[in-house]
Subunit: 416 residues, 2 copies
């Protein structure tokens, strides 16, 4: 059972907007056993849309379309779908009600005719009611194939996929079982890691596909398999995991679906232990705090943080000794250690994490080389620090520093 | 002159990775006059890659391929390109040298045969040297069409596009001139805005395409045009801008290519005025600080910030009066105002910005409704605050609150 995603919008083709919808849809469809054969992004152009529909229909069973359903003139997806299905647009009473309700609740401006006309849908379409917006989702079947059109607004699209599209697909089709298990590793390069597990990789059964996903300081190893017997697929993947984990146990930190990210893994460990955290950020500028607080439940363990960007604020807000800064420079291990120690105390936390460094592109209030970052973690009993050279591209330096800080914090938390 | 982008990798089709490369490439190609006709994401599958190459070649002149050039067995793009061009792989001496140099500088682990083999390239290819990584870019011409293969690592791909691909494309082809001008507006809904400028939109010449891009609290209006005479294209777009700006002057904040984002616009204004900023964040958890510090040069105006997530830290770190919190609740206008005032003083800044609210999904240390956020901006002379209801989805509440805080800060900065 194959699917394709077609995302429509000039903004995608000129690079003004990144297509984040496709990854979400692909994950959700994989979750019920539908594989994505291709993702295609095209312009708001009638001829091209019609051709893309035809091409996709020739290859797969399920075609999911996002974008081009807005109220303004540049949005032509709905009309083009009607043309493809040789259909006309009719006004849907339930959608009209939904639009009026949304307008009443969220919008203080007048309900315009273009908004009312969002209730026009192809007569052959089953409406997938969009409770979060005025553009309805639409489900149209043709020659045993289904076209599903959704608004491009990620928030609205996601709710429609989860609450309407996935249940309806499960009712309509029989899917196999797809399983991806991704192992997160930190500290070894992609090819060195691959060499270490080469014998295991060569002996993998044909039904299991392996992929390496390197990124800043970490490599993810993904095992994928598909089959009609879910128990068998799970058992086969588990058997391989049981073989590979002992080979990489020094660099393996967990499974992606369980930890999702290092900060969530840390969050879970802190919550379980009833411990708390505070961060003092210089070069990472709030990004570590943001990593934790973006997730619900952060208030259970995240006491707070300071972004002491200027040297003066390190002294005034964090109480760092000016002599220490003058002696060692503001970008130094002793300053990182003092920051970690002081922020821990300031926020009454169990763990204090601090960063000070030069993210570039120009030198700041220190002589530190661009890319040089000092990170420290303080606990009740000790302070550890380390120095890193993280390249010269500002946003990569920041991201790598955040990852290193999380790694160091995790190491401290795991200590008995 | 049309181009297509083909991104290769199973991780894209299962939704594990979002394709951010295509948007960057599209922007760069638009910059020299090459329009992107289609973006296609496909799996690491030989038959599918060959078919996608053939389809793209039938439609456009320039085919840019990213991904699948790594050293591990799951990467098959290079071999498949050699097959498509009926070619063999040969070892390139310059690429070998580059790999050895990178290994020596950045990698402490052994140089393996799989890394050495990244110097194998199709004999018909012109190598585009990748100074940041071991996978070389490749340029292959066929029937007056060009295939350009680049590594999928965004950092490496970007440098190759800017330094190698764009100059070589400009040498090889003659391109028209493409211009996009995007007007940023805040405060009006998409359809209300469209209604207000309807007469202007209906009178637009056929050579200019208009698009509306709504997002959280803002709508972008994009005008696009293309032609062989750059001066004429620019003048035509400018004439329309001169007509539309007076119609929307109450909600128009600037052009996207000039301000890129509200925080950069604020940054520029602060730097020009020699003023400084400090932020006290509760529900936004460091995201406002991160917005500013992600950009180079933040140290010129960003003194720092605190993330006082817990009520206790608001009292201890920011010195908020406990009675004030007990009287009004921690999520209230008076507390937001006190936070803005105190953080401004703590960091010796000209402007203080503060947020306190409930981002959800559950209620925190207050009785505030989920989605209720108070934002305050303090200057030497006054403190302003406002209350917002920002929905119920945590990450959207945070983003909307950040946008509202930036809007309020901008309003204060613009005051004479």
């Amino acid at each position: 059972m194959l699917a394709e995603i077609i995302t429509i919008g000039d903004e995608l083709l000129i690079g003004q907007v990144i297509d984040t919808n496709s990854a979400f849809i692909a994950q959700e469809l994989n979750g019920i056993g539908a594989s994505i054969y291709q993702i295609t992004s095209i312009q708001d152009d009638k001829a091209h849309i019609l051709q893309a529909f035809k091409d996709a229909e020739s290859r797969v069973d399920i075609i999911i379309i996002t974008g081009g359903l807005g109220p303004t003139k540049d949005d032509i997806t709905k009309k083009t779908i009607a043309e493809y299905f040789d259909d006309t647009l009719v006004r849907d009473a339930a959608v009209t009600k939904n639009i009026e309700a949304i307008w009443k609740k969220y919008v203080r401006q007048n309900l315009l005719q273009v908004n009312r006309d969002q209730a026009l849908v192809p007569s052959k379409a089953t409406v997938l009611m969009n409770e979060l917006g005025t553009a309805p989702g639409m489900w149209l079947q043709k020659n045993n194939k289904v076209f599903i059109a959704l608004p491009g607004v990620p928030f609205e699209m996601k709710k429609l996929i989860v609450n309407k599209v996935i249940p309806k697909l499960k009712e309509t089709y029989k899917f196999p079982f797809i399983l991806h298990k991704t192992l997160l590793t930190y500290g070894l390069g992609e090819s060195t890691l691959a060499q270490r597990i080469e014998d295991w990789e060569n002996a993998l059964p044909e039904t299991i596909k392996l992929a390496y996903l390197p990124s800043l300081g970490s490599v993810r190893i993904r095992l994928s398999s598909k089959g009609n017997n879910a128990q068998e697929v799970k058992a086969n993947i588990q058997a391989e995991i049981d073989k590979v984990v002992p080979l990489i146990k020094d660099v393996f930190v967990g499974f992606e679906d369980e930890v999702q990210s290092l900060e969530l893994m840390i969050a879970n460990k802190l919550i379980a232990a009833g411990k708390t955290l505070a961060v003092a950020e210089s070069c990472t500028g709030g990004t570590i705090a943001e990593q934790f607080t973006q997730h619900a439940g952060a208030s259970a363990y995240f006491n707070g943080g300071v972004v002491t960007y200027a040297t003066a604020s390190k002294i005034k807000v964090l109480g760092i000794d000016k002599t220490l800064i003058d002696t060692h420079s503001v970008v130094s291990a002793p300053v990182a250690e003092a920051m970690a120690k002081n922020v821990r105390e300031l926020f009454n936390a169990d763990y204090g994490v601090a960063t000070t460094g030069n993210a570039g592109p120009s030198k700041g209030e220190s002589d530190a080389e661009i890319g040089n970052v000092f990170i420290a973690v303080a606990t009740k009993d000790c302070v550890v620090s380390a120095s890193f050279m993280l390249g010269s591209a500002r946003q990569r330096v920041i991201k790598k520093a955040v990852n290193k800080a999380l790694e160091m914090l995790e190491t401290e938390i795991l200590k008995p």
